[in-house]
């Protein structure tokens, strides 16, 4: 059956995706299309015929959108703070802003509460407490923001709350002994784990679909870019406050340290979440642009590193710090590859950046292979520590991720597989990260006796 309404909607969505139209333009054009269709139907055509002819008469979308772009020039410099089009959108946007304010105050106050019990920022032993819990102060609110936006049911809410509470309990009940290796590892992995849980809230019911998870990956990239900008703004404002009050001999440092930066940090996170969520597809994503600028440069550096390593015959010196450096290298390469992929249309034929991606992955795999062979030797000679095992595990997981991508890229270039397989592999791999961060955060302390 031909569903006229659906066809019209998908047509106007198509216009929307062009980005050259304001919402009012689209409504106007849609109403135009409907007039045309009605006329044709009353002239005796069937709905599907009328639809086809009307769309054809409205003309090439490219041409229309080009003409509109000339008029809506300010639209090309899009406003991030979107002017809501109708009352519903306006109410929703107001509600979101209210949520940001309320959650910022709640999160900031939550951070201040331990101070009442003698665990202020500057008290002895507090640094590890805060390091461990910092993500628990903020991320539940981010999750709540999305749960409210996605209109989650009560069951979902309770699942999330229970998850966060269990995580908080475990991490704080575990004992910890000097040199606190396992505790610090848990502290570092818990935020990543919780962020993935936030991802489930972000994608809502779609978290099982590859598309939904890919959106979460895009969201994460934009979060980082915008978060850095917003945080820089908070810092500048803070320094400015200090300087200007310094001029009248009032020391604002205590206020800034005790309140401004704490609430500022919470606000930075929640504002970023709001902004990225609001802007979504309206503005070109930033992370892919950065990735495209830096991936060729990165490739050059890595190739020269490999060449120098081979010529001088020096194998990388295998200390833990260097292993972490190689982990970072893999993570960076993964990030670059991932964000180039994220902005890509699945139907596009292979382009330059795809080959660049594959080259980047292969070089990274070679360098890491050399590094790993060295560390494995060391590990067997000096025994296992939690840090080494964690670093090694990370390395293997990233290696698996990149290896899979490389393999799928080759298959894709040979036309044996579609590009969608790469995306599926990557979004499926999120489970591996989830499990691994959970293991390091919760199982490692048990394994290594909390040392």
């Amino acid at each position: 059956m031909f569903d006229l309404e659906m066809q019209i909607h998908s047509w106007s969505d198509h216009l929307r995706a062009r980005g050259n139209f304001t919402e009012a333009d689209i409504n106007e054009l849609e109403s135009h299309l409907r007039e045309e269709i009605d006329d044709l139907i009353s002239a005796g055509l069937t709905p599907d015929e009328s639809f086809l002819i009307s769309v054809k008469r409205l003309g090439n979308l490219d041409a229309i959108s080009h003409e509109f772009a000339k008029v809506n020039t300010e639209n090309l410099w899009k406003h991030l703070y979107i002017d809501p089009v109708d009352n519903v959108a306006k109410r929703q946007s107001n509600r979101d802003i209210a949520l940001v304010v309320i959650f910022t105050l709640l999160a900031g106050t939550l951070i201040k509460i331990p101070e009442l019990f003698g665990l202020g920022f500057n008290d002895p032993g507090a640094d590890r407490f805060y390091l461990k819990n910092i993500s628990l102060f903020i991320l539940p609110f981010v999750a709540a923001f999305f749960l409210i936006k996605r209109k989650a049911d009560r069951k979902t809410w309770s699942t999330f709350m229970v998850t966060f509470i269990i995580a908080a309990l475990i991490i704080n009940i575990y004992p910890s002994f000097s040199p606190y290796n396992t505790e610090i590892l848990s502290s570092l992995h818990l935020p990543l784990l919780l962020w993935l849980i936030v991802g489930v809230a972000y994608t809502g019911r779609e978290w099982q679909s590859s598309q939904g998870r890919m959106n979460f990956i895009r969201f994460t990239g934009e979060m980082v870019v915008y978060g850095v900008l917003v945080w820089a703004g908070v810092l500048v404002l803070g320094m400015f406050t200090m300087a200007i009050f310094g001029a009248i001999q009032v020391d604002a440092e205590k206020f800034l340290e005790d309140y401004y930066f704490i609430y500022g940090a919470c606000a930075a996170v929640l504002i970023t979440v709001y902004l990225v969520e609001a802007k979504k597809s309206i503005v070109e994503n930033f992370a892919p642009i950065l990735a495209k600028i830096f991936s060729p440069l990165f490739l050059v550096i890595m190739v020269s590193f490999l060449v120098v390593m081979i010529i001088t015959g020096k194998s990388p010196f295998m200390e833990r710090e260097f292993l972490i450096a190689f982990d970072l290298m893999l993570a960076l390469v993964l990030g670059l590859v991932l964000y180039v992929i994220s902005s890509r249309n699945n139907q596009q034929p292979p382009n330059l950046f795809d080959y660049l991606n594959l080259a980047l992955i292969i070089i990274a795999l070679i360098i890491d292979g050399v590094a790993l062979s060295a560390i494995l030797f060391r590990l067997s000679a000096f025994g296992i520590t939690p840090n080494k095992l964690a670093a090694l595990g990370e390395n293997l997981i990233l290696l698996g991720n990149l290896g899979g991508l490389a393999w799928l890229y080759v298959a894709y270039f040979k036309r044996k597989r579609d590009f969608i397989n790469l995306e599926k592999w990557q979004t499926g791999y999120l489970y591996v990260y989830f499990i691994w961060t959970a293991i390091v955060a919760f199982i490692f302390p048990l394994l290594f006796g909390f040392y």
């Binding site: 007039e35 000339k70 008029v71």
Partner: protein, 108 residues
């Protein structure tokens, strides 16, 4: 016969203003009216009409409002403003100059 693009573009403003002077109208009806008046010689595309309408609105020559049709559909109507009427008079004079010059040369 195909009227050249430049000519269509140049004549769009006076035509739209003249149509709106008759009564308020919306995009689809304007295109139909132009077709009718020109006996199917002038066929405007939407990609051309709406940007012109929006530009005229920006120039405060016309204004728009949403209203429901008899069938209950939302339509964006355009209404000519005082300044639009003046602009139309101006355009009329300009076109008359062109027209009389052309007719003189062609009749000779």
């Amino acid at each position: 016969m195909n009227v050249s693009k430049d000519l269509i573009a140049a004549s769009a403003t006076p035509l739209i203003l003249a149509i709106l002077k008759e009564n308020d109208s919306y995009g689809y009806a304007i295109i139909k009216r132009v077709k009718e008046m020109s006996e199917n010689e002038l066929v405007w595309t939407e990609g051309m009409l709406y940007p012109v309408l929006h530009r005229l609105e920006d120039q405060m020559l016309i204004e728009s409002y949403w209203s429901k049709s008899e069938a209950g559909r939302q339509r964006k109507y355009y209404r000519i403003k005082e300044s639009g009427l003046k602009e139309l008079e101006l355009q009329k004079k300009q076109w008359e100059i062109v027209h009389s010059a052309l007719s003189k040369t062609w009749s000779e």
